[in-house]
């Protein structure tokens, strides 16, 4: 049974100018212990999906439809009280700005203990030793837990935040741009560490990034998002070898490669659409080189073109890179 099944999730932000269609009919599933990645430009709705899973959306956001089945329960329908028990105990998160996700006036260890004691009935001492364990796990000296956040370096804070996410041994960890602010070497080391820990404890992991290269390193499957839609979803190898959606192809070729033939880096014309008034039909059609009348008139559905390879496009490309 799948750990998480997101079915047709649709979410709007109410603004003065009207509803912003941030997430529209997103569906995907995750198995226990699986690592998937969500990729897309900023503003494509990937963070909104993550926040919807934890039900931490801003006041003006509204889940209009769809369901989020987690271990058989629909999170959309849970009461706030029940949802609080799910947060961190079952689904935890490593936030985009790890630098700022620790409260400056409390000791780092205390902030982790706080989370542990909220969900597990353990004594202060047990909680402390648990924190120390997790510090070791992410490669931090347990002595550091009695220091304040400003005494940590950027990489140390990131590790501490990851230790915090692991603290209650959740079933799923969402990592929203977990390493974007770090330099490349630290980034790589931390990603590797996360992956090892994940495999060891059989936790599912959802990576969110604008950087498909980072995602490819750690995720088993990749979902590509564009303007609130999942436009393509497949295992990592397929996405890289046989990208089918024109947007995925453009995204791939925007990255330089040191292997293979010299090629021109493709550039997408135009800009991401205004989600206040998304384009008719396929949301990608104004920028798509293969767009036809059909694309303008009718929205494509996510369909399986290969085993486990889903694409939402009227003209899926058959091209290997």
């Amino acid at each position: 049974m799948a750990l998480l099944t997101v079915q047709d999730l649709t979410m709007h932000y109410r603004t003065k100018l009207g509803g912003v269609h941030a997430v529209d009919g997103v569906s995907f599933a995750m198995a226990e212990g699986e690592a998937i990645g969500l990729v897309g430009e900023s503003g494509c709705g990937k963070t909104s999906v993550a926040m919807a899973l934890l039900r931490l959306l801003p006041d003006n956001a509204q889940i209009l439809g769809g369901e989020i089945l987690f271990e058989g329960r629909d999170l959309v329908k849970l009461s706030e009280h029940e949802m609080r028990k799910v947060r961190w105990r079952s689904i935890s998160m490593v936030f985009q700005a790890a630098m700022n996700s620790l409260n400056p006036v409390y000791r780092v260890g205390q902030q982790i203990i706080e989370a542990i004691q909220q969900h597990l009935s353990v004594s202060e001492r047990e909680a402390r030793s648990r924190v120390a364990e997790h510090y070791n796990l992410v490669g931090l000296d347990p002595k550091l837990m009695d220091r304040y956040p400003h005494e940590y370096s950027g990489g140390m804070k990131q590790r501490a935040v990851i230790a915090m996410a692991l603290a209650c041994s959740p079933k799923l960890i969402i990592a929203d741009e977990p390493t974007t602010a770090l330099d490349v070497i630290v980034q790589d080391r931390i990603l590797r560490r996360i992956n090892e820990v994940r495999a060891e404890f059989n936790m599912a992991m959802m990576y969110i990034s604008h950087d498909i290269a980072v995602i490819a390193e750690v995720a088993e499957r990749i979902g590509v998002m564009y303007a609130g839609w999942i436009v393509e979803m497949a295992d990592t190898v397929s996405v890289f070898k046989h990208p089918a959606h024109p947007y995925t192809i453009a995204l791939m070729s925007a990255f330089p490669s040191i292997k293979g033939d010299k090629r021109v880096l493709a550039q997408l014309p135009g800009e991401p659409p205004n989600l206040l008034a998304p384009p008719s039909g396929c949301r990608f059609h104004p920028r798509c080189p293969h767009a036809t009348a059909e694309c303008v008139d009718e929205a494509p559905r996510l369909e399986e073109i290969d085993k486990g390879h889903f694409v939402s496009c009227w003209h899926p490309q058959r091209r290997s890179q």
Binding site: L54, L56, R87, F95, P104, A115, Q118, H150
Partner: protein
């Protein structure tokens, strides 16, 4: 830390010295210099006049007088008051300062106790009608013309309802044969208040470990009630109770006036500070950790948002003298502000200078305390 305090003390000394200089030359520049009243008095014989000039130090140049004055201030000699002759200025200040200090301390603490949770609450409920209503009320209290507020309070509570006295420090009729001087009773009263405050803080600390909020609150309140009861019993047993009560009775309206004004400021500041903190990422993290709303609000948001409030609280203590001018006049409360105003009006210059100098000292000390307190509350700041 010590180095920082040392450095600040040197800075304070320099600033204070400049402040003294400005005050001296300001009073020097005043027309109708008080010394001339003695010198020009035709009934004083010429020989005595010359002797007086020497005694008053008027034969010195302005600079000589200035040096003399600074030396005197630094040795704690503020001169003699004209009005209260032959009492020393310092002696009068010693009597008046506690009255102002108690008035403003009690009011500031009450304003904080009400303003802090209310500001926290409306920031959490932002954008709702309640938020707007309370914010507007807060602005109104904050910007109300102080004499108007005082007049309205006097009109309603003293004139119409007759609950409180219209002003003054005590009821003269009651004090015809007091068992002890009003001043010493007042000092005891102040000590009682300080004791009760400490008791309340201790009670909070002692009950911190009680897990459930309801018995905890019950225990806290019980302890506070016991403390108040004990204090009341003590006063009753001493036989001074009615006298102390008379002073408290007179203090009520001025305290209420200052509380209302300070409350508006505290609440607005807390609200704005909270709104900034709420947007921080660590608040989202706290919510994601599954902490209850109240814990996120109180332990994570309010704790950080408290910092600017503490600063403003401490700094406001420094301005009690100038702040007291209006309130104390309206309620005829003989504190530093009223003393200063009177001294200016009847040209009791040594007294007025003494009050000003004292204000300067208070403000400087308040600034230092604010810095130190900030360092205690914010781990990011290390001196």
């Amino acid at each position: 830390m010590l180095r920082f305090v040392g450095g600040r003390l040197v800075q304070i000394a320099i600033t204070f010295f400049l402040f003294l200089t400005v005050v001296f030359f300001l009073f020097q520049a005043m027309p109708g210099d008080y010394t001339k009243q003695f010198i020009m008095n035709p009934r004083i014989p010429p020989a005595a006049r010359e002797a007086l000039k020497v005694r008053l130090g008027l034969t010195d140049s302005v600079w000589g007088q200035y040096v003399n004055y600074v030396r005197n201030v630094f040795t704690g000699n503020l001169g003699l008051s004209f009005e209260h002759y032959p009492r020393e200025v310092w002696d009068v200040i010693k009597e008046r300062l506690p009255r102002t200090a108690i008035l403003f301390l009690v009011a500031s603490v009450m304003a904080f106790v009400w303003g802090f949770p209310l500001g926290r609450y409306i920031a959490w409920k932002r954008g709702q009608t309640l938020d707007y209503t309370i914010t507007v009320a807060g602005v109104l209290f904050y910007t109300i013309f102080t004499p108007l507020l005082a007049l309205m309070l006097l009109f309603v509570f003293a004139n119409q309802l007759g609950w409180f006295r219209t002003g003054g420090f005590l009821t003269p009729r009651l004090w015809l044969t007091p068992p002890s001087s009003p001043q010493s009773i007042f000092i005891w009263l102040a000590a009682t208040l300080a004791g009760l405050g400490t008791w309340a803080v201790l009670a909070r600390f002692a009950t911190r470990r009680i897990g459930h909020p309801r018995p905890r609150r019950l225990a806290q309140r019980g302890l506070v009630v016991v403390g108040v009861g004990l204090a009341g019993l003590g006063w009753w047993a001493s036989g001074l109770g009615p006298f102390a009560w008379d002073i408290v009775w007179h203090m009520f309206l001025p305290v209420l006036a200052v509380t209302l004004i300070a409350f508006g400021g505290d609440m607005l500041l807390m609200r704005d500070s909270m709104l900034e903190v709420i947007r921080e990422d660590y608040i989202t993290t706290a919510k994601a950790k599954g902490l209850p709303d109240k814990v996120v609000r109180d332990r994570h948001a309010a704790r950080t948002a408290l910092l600017p409030l503490v600063t403003s609280f401490t700094l406001s203590i420094g301005f009690v003298v100038s702040g007291g001018i209006v309130t104390e006049t309206m309620f005829s409360w003989k504190g530093m502000g009223l003393t200063y105003l009177n001294a200016l009006l009847i040209q009791d210059y040594p007294m007025a200078m003494g009050c000003l100098i004292f204000t300067g000292i208070l403000v400087l000390v308040a600034h230092l305390v604010a810095d130190l307190l900030y360092a205690v509350l914010d781990p990011r700041i290390v001196y």
